[in-house]
Symmetry: C2
Subunit: 339 residues, 2 copies
């Protein structure tokens, strides 16, 4: 448990000053003799010296770390493939540029007391929020007051958040594409969409996209709410729906997991897909292709969203301000065989 060597140890061993060691470590080559550099590098190797990021950060006031707060009630916040891909995109982009990603899963009511908020340890924050509109606004207000730049994913822009950027996918257009595809494939008069209990900007956009197309073609759209994180709750909602009305022409899940769960219920009722009814999901994560029939859905650019968010925040750090307040990525149709 010997204490790790510091820059002083290296300097002593190489017989130079710490300033010189620092230059070698940071690859500042101007004004340094080749022999000195070699001697220093040898000392570094011999001692197994690793520069401390803490010392450097204190000195430079830059931490080269971005915080990612995933505000979610569920402990398995990373179970959602959307989040997972988002985080993968984020870290990959950041890692490649020498930045770290400090990951925190935070329960909604704990955000205020979380380390990320209470203490200062990152250059900027990324967040995916959850909860009601009011809750989300209050989180955004809280983050704004931190005086740190931040990026939120999948939220609508909030004007009062000055030093913030809103990165999201075009859920509305994705839903429009899906709705049009459905009406191409089948003569539908009635549709039902299973959505989460809480309102959620991305979901509202999807509903609004479906509604626009369906209204225009006089297709009715029922909304059924359930706890979308619980497969039991989805099943119960689907069962209840089937019990009180004849099957509609198409079932829409707010995401793939919901659609797939509903599809299982339909199967148990011997309702054929796509023979009797159509089913579609949203986000197109790989497992949606494993279903029978493969799910018709729309591809979420979650990984790209993460990369973009990372790029946007690094640019913000360099430029001193966000160049754009909002970024929107396209969502493309994935024609399975369930419609």
């Amino acid at each position: 448990m010997a204490k790790p060597p510091t820059i002083h140890a290296v300097a002593a061993r190489a017989g130079v000053s710490t300033a010189t060691v620092s230059k070698v470590v940071n690859r500042i080559n101007v004004g340094m003799s080749e022999t000195t550099r070699q001697r220093v590098e040898e000392a570094i190797r011999d001692l197994g010296y690793r520069p401390s990021r803490v010392g450097r950060s204190l000195r430079t006031l830059r931490r080269s770390t971005i915080g990612m707060a995933i505000v979610d009630a569920s402990p398995s916040f990373l179970a959602d493939p959307f989040t997972t891909n988002l985080v993968a995109g984020l870290t990959n982009h950041l890692s490649a540029r020498g930045f770290g990603l400090l990951l925190h899963g935070i329960k909604p009511h704990e955000l205020r007391d979380s380390v990320l908020v209470r203490e200062s340890e990152v250059d900027a924050l990324c967040v995916t929020l959850s909860g009601s509109r009011r809750d989300r606004l209050s989180y955004i207000k809280l983050l704004t007051e931190l005086g740190q730049p931040f990026v939120t994913f999948q939220d609508q822009p909030v004007a009062s958040a000055k030093d913030a950027c809103f990165v999201r996918q075009d859920d509305r257009a994705g839903a429009v594409g899906l709705a049009r595809y459905i009406l191409e494939k089948r003569r539908a008069k009635r549709a039902v969409m299973f959505i989460s209990e809480l309102s959620w900007p991305a979901i509202e956009q999807r509903v609004s996209g479906f509604r626009d197309v369906f209204d225009d073609k006089r297709v009715s759209l029922d909304l059924v709410r359930c706890d979308e994180t619980s497969s039991a709750s989805i099943v119960a909602a689907a069962e209840a729906y089937l019990a009180r009305t004849a099957p509609p022409d198409v079932f829409i899940g707010q995401n793939d997991q919901v659609a797939l769960t509903v599809m299982q219920v339909l199967k148990r009722h011997n309702i054929r897909v796509p023979g009797d009814v159509g089913v579609c999901g949203f986000n197109a994560f790989p497992f949606s292709g494993f279903a029978d029939p493969p799910l018709t859905t729309a591809r979420s650019p979650a990984y790209e969203l993460g990369q973009l968010g990372a790029a946007v925040i690094l640019d913000r750090l360099e430029a001193g301000h966000f160049r754009k307040r909002e970024h929107v990525l396209a969502v493309d149709l994935v024609a399975g065989a369930s419609v």
Copy 2:
């Protein structure tokens, strides 16, 4: 872009010394008048002061951060539900104890040059490795030389890694359970298992578990290798296998994704599951239940593995040494309807 307030600003505003502010921030209550504390707290609120973790870390030489290196060739390293759940378990446990998780996806050949290895910024490391046995050993050697404690997931213990702990699930026993279940359900003579091209300790354990049971009952076990991260490669391998031999009694995937992909191929060949052949997977992630029929598999305690890893490493930090060099968690059978 005003510089954030420091402890000095708070001290000045409250008319006390920085030492007093520090005590308030760190909730050290002995020897402090109530009025002083209130004044300090007010100043903190007024200024929006957030203590800098960097300053504190430099002083205490503790960073309260654990690094997690996911060594994987694929950029979507977080796509695997095993990894995802593992990371969720890790962060949740760490967050609850005031520790952060610094996440890095690292390509195998980049580990040596990664920030996590080159510089010192965390109290300890966690890793999931990949690659050949030789590669893995070289990574473990590299990590050992860092002189930092580390935990590896899903690897077999390596004696030379002194300050390390090996946390894994009992893949072998899981496979044994699955194999016995298969032989209960159907009279099998031939089985085939689809596994990744690279050898991988967890997979080797699974193969060995199946082989033990099957050998005993004179069931043959073919091994087919493919790039398990590519659905096209799995399909190609399955097609090739079906082209050169009659369907065996049971298809085994090294994980759920592989099994499900093979199941799709069987369907296209009009081979019924479980009528004509049985299929089983491994890890039991939620989507395996969406398949038709629901997949028979074995439940990976990935989330618990993450929690355990976090607990083990925090204990190591406190105690100064790992109490055990290895931890193994059980893997339970999930009887679907595919066998």
